[in-house]
Symmetry: none
Subunit: 193 residues, 4 copies
């Protein structure tokens, strides 16, 4: 029984790698099966179609990612610290999971991922928007555009991460923090907020 779990996991991992390296249509199911150590027919016992398979890969990655992003968030008391935690977690996760990072980039927005899957995943980002809701409330910034704030945060975060990717450098807290502080300065977020 647990064996089944392992096989499923293996197929997901192999698919992730191959889809990223070769594209969806560039990866035959026979190749996934072979690298996963199962017969072609067996693959379809685990995932009825190739389309279902890539959606499951996506869900697995997203859930794992979100768990990591928002992990131990309650330990932090104020908003800036919470944001910093998310900032760091997400950059580190992307550095440590280059294949998953690329998978998101190529497929998260694509037509391979069904709308149902996208909606299901979207819900889990609530913790992030909660933080910005609270910031706006606390700082009494009326008319402030919450969505724009969130987007700016995500943009700064992702592109700071890209830096380490481009430079092929390991994560560096100092560099990352400089970037984070610039973002906070920009939106006027103080240490005590």
């Amino acid at each position: 029984m647990d064996n089944k779990r392992k096989k499923r996991k293996k197929i997901i991992e192999v698919s992730l790698k191959l889809f990223v390296e070769r594209g969806f249509h560039g990866t035959p199911t026979s190749m996934i099966a072979k690298e996963s150590g199962v017969a072609t027919g067996t693959l379809f016992n685990y995932f009825k179609t190739k389309d279902i398979l890539i959606n499951e890969v996506y869900k697995d990655i997203e859930l794992e990612q979100q768990n990591y992003f928002f992990k131990n968030l309650d330990e932090e008391k104020n908003s800036k610290k919470k944001l910093k935690k998310i900032w760091e977690n997400s950059i580190i996760w992307r550095i440590n999971n280059p294949y998953k990072r690329r998978f998101g980039r190529y497929f998260s927005d694509s037509s391979f991922i069904s709308d149902d899957t996208k909606i299901e995943i979207y819900k889990h980002y609530k913790p992030l928007s909660d933080i910005f809701t609270k910031i706006i409330e606390k700082k009494g910034i009326k008319n402030s555009n919450e969505l724009m704030l969130i987007l700016n945060f995500i943009g700064a975060c992702i592109f700071t991460g890209e830096y380490f990717y481009i430079m092929k450098e390991p994560y560096n807290e100092k560099i990352s923090n400089e970037s984070f502080e610039k973002f906070c300065k920009g939106i006027g977020l103080k240490d005590e907020d």
Copy 2:
């Protein structure tokens, strides 16, 4: 002779649309040909292979985009104004060219685009890095990380643009400028710089 130009243009446009909507392998060359109003064989007179075709689509988009981004840049005297111009141009371009925006997102980083093509395109972004070189010089910020500054700029710019995309709103100078000013405040860029 001009007829050939037009046909080529038509094929590029149709390919762009279909690749974005259906993916590379999801778009048969026969479909591209049909929608372009030429025979299957004719397509291959213009582009020897499907791979070459998608690379040409990419190049066409990038060159057009870069022309737009950096257009009339010399009219602006100082760095902040130059950046503002690029900021606006790029957001507007992405709003006005949703298919090209999505094409970049899906394919710019993918293995469909050859390394040769990527390198060729990369060179044209020099005007942007020149601006940041000058900013760093003028403000005497030693040890400043130019690449990180550029990435932060691009991130802020793209994600500000995403806002209009998600909200399905037309471009709004006020909203865009608020975002831009936050970015400048973050890196300490003044009006007179």
Copy 3:
């Protein structure tokens, strides 16, 4: 397992016939598959490409042919008798296998057959050259040109066979032997040699 053998054999036979009748490029793989009673895709499970297929056809023919040419050769004591055996075997084989005869004629020297295949096949003709080596030794004919002798033998043999082909007659030992004796007389090979 045995079923696979049979299918492979069937495809080889059908290919042989069609390649001879219609040429390599004149024979679509779909036609080979259909006449072999398998699906188009199945053909490629057995032979990865059409090029590999024709090389396998060639190898199969050559090996079968050589087995037949040199069969029971050890029973004969002297060189002339050995040559006679090969002479007869090869003519009879060509009469009984008209398609294989034509296949050799059209393709053995062509660019469809890879150099690797040709070299692999060439090695198996050693028994024939061994006989001529011994003849030259025994008859003490110094300076004799072994290769020329072999070529003359093959030429006489093949063109004697052509006689039956052109006349559409069955094999006739008397006629064949007259030709053989002329060849022996020409090179001075006696019954006791």
Copy 4:
């Protein structure tokens, strides 16, 4: 007007080379046109179809070949000398025209050459059979098989020629003659015949 002749000749020569090197279906008409220095469409002004083209190539080669084989034949008085002349001419011709030699080997018997063409060509070999008719008459060999004699001659002749081809040696009268004499000895043909 003479210009047309030259162009026709050029196309024939290019076709010969390409058909031998790449096979009939492996040679696009566009490639023949290009290497011949004419436009694709022009080719079809000279030869209505590709099939007609290869038949014309074949006829050109055969006529040239036969002219060479039987040239100055009347100068020789007796049969052996006539045969020797043909023997030499044909071997030399094949050495000097390796492409034409291969063309014959690949295509003379193939389905690319129409039956009409083959029959037309066959007629021109009468001078050779005349010689053997006379030999049989003169030597009073009843029951002798004329066709078999001719075939043996052709076989010996071609395979003697193959010797020089395989050895990549230039023509050598002594070696060639040894072979010829063996053939004559075999059929009992004397110098005075």
